[in-house]
Structures are given as C-alpha cells and as structure tokens.
Assembly symmetry: C2
DNA sequence: TTTAATGCAAACTATTTGCATCACC
DNA sequence: GGTGATGCAAATAGTTTGCATTAAA
C-alpha cells in the first residue's frame, strides 16, 4: 500500500478540521502550505483524485469554472452567498417532492440532482455591523445547517 | 450599430431553429460550419458574448466543464439523460416551495437557483427498440416539456 | 471616415500527464 | 528491490484577448 501518504492525510485533516466547506485545488494547495506542508500542486491534484476514488471526498460543481471538493457526507446541496462567498450545505429533503413532480411531468427516471442556490446570507443581510465582508469562499461557516454532516 | 452581424444572426437562427437545446461553443461553431457559415471560433465566442449581453441567450452551467448557451426564455432548469445526452428543460415551478423551505431553514435570502437533474429519459428507459442511443447532447428533443418556451 | 465584425495567433486558466526520483516496506 | 508518493516540467482543453484587417453606414 501507500508508503508515504503524507499529503493525502494532511488534506483529509485539513478538510475535516473546517466543518463543512468546499475547497478548490488552489485553496487546498495554499492552505496546506500555511499548515506547514509543502506540496506540489500536481501532488495535491493526485492526492485529491485518490481521495475521491476512495470515497473520502466528493467533487462539487459550483458555477466557478473550477472544481471544488468537499468531504463526503450524506447528499446535500449548496447555497452560496453572493456577497461573502460563503458556501453552506443545505439538506435536499425539501427537494424530494419537487423531484417527484418533475419525474411525473417529464417521464425521466431521475437518478441524481445538483442544486446550487445563490443568495445573501444572514450576516450579509445586516447593514454590515463590523464589516463582515469577504470575497473568497473562506468562511469557517456552514453553521447555518446543523443537520447535515 | 453593427454593420456586419452575420455570425450573430446566423447563430440566433441556428439556435432558434432547434427548439430547446443547449449549445457549447464548439457545437455552435461546427454547426455553423455545416450550415455553410464559416467563422472563426473566436468570432463565435464574441458573437455569443454579445448575444448574451443583449439578452438573447443565456449562459448555462451543466457539469460539463464547458459553458453552454441556450436561447433566453423564462427561467427553467435542466434535466440531462445520462444515456443519450439529451438535455431537456423543466419548469422550475415545482421548486418554489422547496426553495421557500430552504430560505426559512437557512436564513439566506435566496435570489437564484440552478438545478441540474440527471437521469434516464423515456426513450432510453425502453429496451432499446431500434438503438436510439447517442452520446453527445445532440438531441432534437426537448419535447418532453411543453410549457416552457 | 468611423465603427463594429472578423480572422488569426497567441495568452490565459485550470487541469492533467510524463517521467525521473524518493521514501518506505 | 519493488511500489506508491512526490516534484518538476510540460501537455491539454477550453476560454479569452490583442491586433491588424475588412465591410458597411
């Protein structure tokens, strides 16, 4: 088996340490650096590919043009704040009946779905009490939905 | 204004001639060719950018890694057959209550959503009567949903 | 003449791969 | 020694831009 799985391990640790969060390869790479693990970008890429195959992470398509990853949990959808960039996980339970209706309507046998919601999070709806703005998807957040992980 | 809007016009014609369909730049480029209009890829790119700004087309993010376009109609979501690649439009009405629930649940003010469904279309659910399989998103289809355009 | 459209080539971004090397069993 | 992990560099894929040219008002 693997004799030197340092990067993969570090990546898993990193991702698990942050609660729900989605990561681009670039974010993973640079965060890894700031945790003291130097690694080539391609190594991060390959480690993530492996983690994906092994089922530890899942590929997430936001509308970012780049691939994001998240730790594998039960299926859920994503809600992104257009202001601060925070990505929250939302349960997809509320979608169930909509999907059922769509199956009837279209005759498709729907196997999977991907929902990306865009909006404004609670914090950013405030008149900015102490300038809570950010621009990357670097929030520690995800706390909005407790029943997910 | 434009003095020579040939490509843009041809593109609009092409897209309108096909009912609902989503197009990648590559598809647009090659289809344009087979309709007899030679154009550089970058010209197609720019023409589409213009059509988008002018509101004639809309950018669609499937999970394809490439950008797709569709003629602007009322907001709807997309359902892709995993077998034949056909992309159908589905009304997003059934989503309304789900989104409402999610707003309450998360506190987000949801402004927009994007839903991509994956499944098997009616044709491909059959035992393949006369081998109806394709692999690109080249269906003339979209007829499944009448109330869309 | 002025302006937008076009073609060609090249830059860019993000991802992916080839290959030699390295660490660990 | 053998196998997988890693780093470095380069290839890809898709998109986008710079620039000179062309066509129409």
């Amino acid at each position: 088996m693997g004799r030197r799985a340092k990067i993969g391990t570090a990546l898993k640790g990193l991702m698990n340490a942050r609660g729900h969060h989605t990561w681009s390869l670039e974010e993973l790479h640079s965060e890894l650096g700031s945790v003291g693990v130097r690694a080539d970008f391609s190594s991060v890429f390959r480690a993530m590919a492996k983690l994906e195959v092994d089922g530890h992470v899942r590929r997430v398509e936001l509308d970012d043009a780049r691939t994001h990853f998240e730790v594998t949990t039960e299926h859920h959808d994503h809600l992104r704040c257009a202001t601060c960039g925070e990505v929250a996980a939302v349960p997809c339970g509320p979608m169930a009946s909509a999907i059922e209706q769509l199956e009837i309507l279209t005759g498709f046998d729907i196997a999977d779905h991907r929902l990306v919601l865009t909006g404004t999070c609670l914090k950013c709806q405030q008149p900015a009490p102490q300038s809570e703005q950010r621009s990357g998807a670097t929030a520690a957040g995800g706390s909005l939905v407790g029943g997910i992980a």
